[in-house]
Amino acid sequence: MPPPADLADNELRRQLATLSLSHVHPSGAMEAIAAASWWNMLARLGLRLPLVVVHDFGLLLSRNREGSRREVAAAAQAPALARYRALLAALGSSEVIQDLGTAPLRDETVAVILARLLSDVYLRWNGRPRASTDIHELPMSSPAYDGDRAAQARELDPAWCLPFLQRLCEHERAVMARLDQIDAGVLRLLGLFSFQAGVSDLADLYQVVSTSGAADIVDFSLQLLPSLLETKRRPAAQRFSIDGYASVERRGNLDGLLPGELAHDDEIFTQKALCDDLLYYGHERQQETGRKLHYMLIDASASMRGARQVFARGLALALSKKFSLLGGEVWVRFFDSRLHERLDVGSSARRELPRLLSFRSERGRNYARVFAELAVEIGRLRREQGRDVALTFITHAECHIPTATVEALARDAYLYGIFILPSKPIDLEYLTKLHRYQVVTAESLSRAAEKRRRALEIVEDVAGG
């Protein structure tokens, strides 16, 4: 239930009153609105900072965005705020801020960087609002934005945020150290994404930037990309009477019939024709990929924790790219005890990437259920839509699926299993029912070149299926 509008207005006025303590100028209604927008995003990430901090830090981060140079005030408004002003000055003159200033940053990026800079201090601040059931978004349209800040401060004393400013100043070096960590790597990751500014997008993005494994996944996938980009669509044979001959086929038109077939007597010819036993020349054509569906499942359960997760997702990213290049549709889904929503990695890869990198399971496993549901879905795709499905699942060595389910799946799809880093010899009863499978062992990943070679081998093998 959204909070009533008057509650949100009250919160806005309380927050705007803190801008009377701002030390970044110039600042008017537009800057306040921008700060409120960042504040809302931070609130979605669980950080409900005083607006003045969001405003001052945010404006410094994005100061080249609208072409207007914002500056830190030359002097502090009050002696108690001198240290805060000095912190802002140090921030404004840092290399990272200078570098960031050369390129415009999106609001989401600003919010995520602010979260990175300030979350340590915020989360250890005793005065932070404790667990709350309401999320109060600040309204983006209100006459209060044009109000006089001094008057707003007189109406609602902003002193409540001073302990946070003090704490921030006490941890100045830690904040600056955080800033130094925002390097090209983080920005490169951010550059890979596109946004629709939803809550989950933002949370995923923050998760990506805060999670060490995400960078590994991207790095791992990027290592494979040059090889994957060499992928060419393979030619195939067709029955229409165009282009050159490419093959001998069991089906075709009369004009493609092998001359030798006409040498049979009438009875044998008729029998062979009825049994589809006649041979025809096939013509070269592009592969029929329109109905091909590459369905990829990535195990997100707690069992994948650590290096398994990095390799599984990196491999999934690379495979998605490979399948896209080969043509056909690519579906990616995470699974644990549920099949999670489909990620459209084929056509909206940039939008889906944060989720792919940072998806975190909040459930246990239930492979019997997941694969039974999948068998029903794939059966339907094949029967009702005539889809040609290739199902690849990336999991661990304890993924026990009932054999009957695997058999059902193998009837309707090309079934490929990839088992990452088994901690003991793999012993899954259904392995022989899969069309193919690969086991990625720790030994095969120990050397950089070997890891890449092994990964490419898997990608090629899966794609070849």
Partner: protein
């Protein structure tokens, strides 16, 4: 020191006994035995000796045997239990005398293969134990009860591992794993998180038994997730700490480093002081992950990212010299020149003498809970096998709950009650007395017998079950209370309401809120609010604030009253927050709450 009254009563009882008035003596001893919280050495035992003599004089050997169990004189007790009539008690005595094989034989013949198997394992007779577990697996009573079936397969799997039959063990453990996955998912979907937790505990054990890190991770991380959602802070940290050690032992560096970081984040969120320790561990472990990767000739970017994660932890810690050292390690990696130059500059910027930081306090030993890892795969199967038979459950409690002598004494009193010659469970009054006596013991084990008694046709008994269960502070108690609240008999409903008000313990928050949501009867909902009001936790405070702000009438009034008298975690900051946001009636109510809270602080 015994009181004057106790000495007099004992004297009178002894005199009556000597005069051949055993019945009168027994009554007096029973009065004394009701004082279960007497801890003067030898005093309670002297009363037991008196009761024993009285029983023996009256020829009530079975009860005398139970008293001897309480006195821990198992050889004498055993002689009073004919093996054909009381095999379980006989075996209990044999077991306590170290004669596990004999105990197992009798238990097996009496249709208790699980108990027999446990005895055989204690005796080290693993092959024989395996046969008993096989009997359990084949037991037709397991049909349709998947949880107990999973436990049976698990126990058999472990037995097969002990007899080195690896292939068969793997088959049994695979069945166990599949069943547990299904069950945990079902339990969680139905909101029975503590039962899902049990499943994950077994998966954890299964993983350790078979050397499967994947299963250990599944067990620990899902266990942590459930414990965290129940706000079991110290259990969560103990689990994190233990899993961290296991991951390091298994050289799963990535997982270990991630866990340390998560433990630190959790500690901060929970308001505990261990974050600095876990951040230090995370920084160390990421550095170790990078080192190991380099040593194995792994990709440099993996080392680079690991060191970045280490710097992330170090800067959260405020340990800038450590950041400097890790930047130094980054600069030493075979990276592009531009990167190395930057890392070198950062290393110089942060390197300096060690700075004085607040102490990094590790999770202390004294906060480790001894009950964090229970062998529920045994306990729950034994519960199934005894099927709520009060005599069997109570006899075991008398013998085994020596950690809390009060529980053992209360169990003995209940046992004597249901063993007296005139006792019949068909008699509503007797069954009701038993229900109350069971409830007084207040341990988890009595819940199954209470659940069985609730099946009684007499409302008097069902009402007494409510009276009993209202004293057992376990989440499972709420499922009986819910039945009582929906019971068509008014006395049962009234007692269930009373039980609901009695179950005031912090872990009860979730079941209480569930009752608040599920029932429409206003009296029940008010009782739930008032009980939550007594919990004193932050989440209880937030619940009351929400009820005050969003409900009306008597419910709102109840929440307001609870908030005004709220004692426990400090909720004033949250009330102030809401005060800034609320208007009208709600604002006035919050002002009253804040005034009251400030006055009481």
């Amino acid at each position: 020191m015994a009181t004057r009254d106790e000495i007099d009563t004992k004297d009178r009882a002894d005199r009556a006994l000597r005069a051949g008035r055993a019945r009168e003596a027994l009554g007096l001893y029973a009065t004394l035995l009701a004082k279960v919280s007497v801890f003067e050495p030898g005093l309670y035992e002297s009363w037991l000796e008196g009761a024993l003599a009285a029983y023996q004089t009256m020829g009530r050997n079975r009860e005398a045997g139970y008293v001897l169990l309480g006195l821990r004189r198992f050889a004498e007790a055993q002689r009073l239990f004919p093996v054909e009539e009381r095999p379980l008690e006989w075996a209990l005595c044999a077991s306590r005398q170290g004669r596990h094989g004999e105990a197992a034989r009798v238990l097996a013949e009496a249709g208790h293969p699980a108990l027999a198997a446990v005895e055989l394992e204690t005796a080290g007779a693993h092959t024989a134990a395996r046969l008993e577990w096989e009997r359990v697996v084949r037991d037709p009573r397991l049909a349709g009860i998947p949880y107990e079936t999973a436990l049976a397969h698990f126990n058999l799997g472990e037995a097969l591992l002990r007899t080195n039959d690896r292939g068969a063990a793997d088959r049994e453990l695979t069945i166990t794993q599949r069943l547990l996955e299904l069950l945990a998912d079902d339990f969680e979907s139905r909101g029975e998180r503590e039962r899902a937790f049990d499943c994950y505990s077994i998966l954890l054990r299964l993983g350790k038994d078979t050397g499967s890190f994947e299963n250990v991770a599944e067990g620990y991380l899902n266990g942590i997730r459930i414990l965290a959602s129940d706000d079991q802070k110290f259990y969560v940290l103990q689990y994190y700490d233990d899993f961290l050690s296991y991951a390091v032992e298994q050289q799963e560096w990535y997982a270990a480093a991630q866990l340390a970081r998560e433990a630190a984040d959790y500690s901060v969120k929970a308001g505990l002081v261990y974050d600095r320790y876990y951040l230090t561990r995370a920084a160390e472990l990421w550095a170790e992950a990078a080192r190991q990767n380099e040593a194995a000739g792994g990709p440099t970017d993996l080392s680079e990212n690991a060191l970045h994660a280490g710097i992330d932890a170090a800067s959260a810690l405020g340990d800038l010299p450590l950041c400097g050292r890790l930047y130094g390690a980054l600069a030493a990696l075979p990276l592009a020149a531009k990167k190395r130059t930057r890392y070198r500059a950062l290393a110089v910027r942060y390197t300096g003498p060690a700075i004085e930081l607040p102490a990094a306090v590790p999770f202390p030993e004294y906060l480790r809970r001894p009950g964090a890892y229970q062998d529920i795969w045994r306990q729950d199967l034994v519960e199934w096998e005894l099927d709520g038979d009060p005599t069997a459950v109570l006899a075991r409690l008398v013998v085994e709950r020596t950690d809390h002598v009060r529980f053992s004494r209360l169990a003995l009193r209940a046992l004597l009650l249901c063993s007296s010659p005139g006792f019949s469970r068909d008699d509503p009054r007797a069954a009701a007395d038993l229900a109350l006596a069971l409830g007084k013991i207040q341990v988890y084990e009595v819940l199954r017998p209470l659940e069985r008694l609730y099946e009684h046709s007499s409302p008097q008994v069902r009402a007494a079950v409510m009276g009993g269960v209202g004293q057992v502070y376990c989440k499972r108690s709420f499922s009986l209370v819910r039945k009582g609240l929906a019971d068509p008999a008014a006395p049962v409903h009234i007692e269930a309401l009373r039980a609901l008000r009695g179950l005031r313990f912090r872990d009860g928050f979730d079941p209480l809120t569930q009752i608040f949501r599920d029932f429409t009867d206003e009296n029940i909902r008010i009782a739930a609010v008032e009980t939550i009001g007594e919990l004193g936790s932050l989440e209880a405070g937030l619940f009351l604030l929400d009820t005050l702000r969003h409900e009306t009438g008597a419910l709102r009034g109840a929440a307001h009253k609870c908030l005004v008298n709220f004692a426990g975690d400090d909720i004033t900051a949250t009330v102030r927050q809401y005060l800034d946001l609320e208007v009208g009636e709600n604002r006035e109510a919050l002002q009253r709450v804040l005034r009251s809270l400030n006055a009481s602080n």
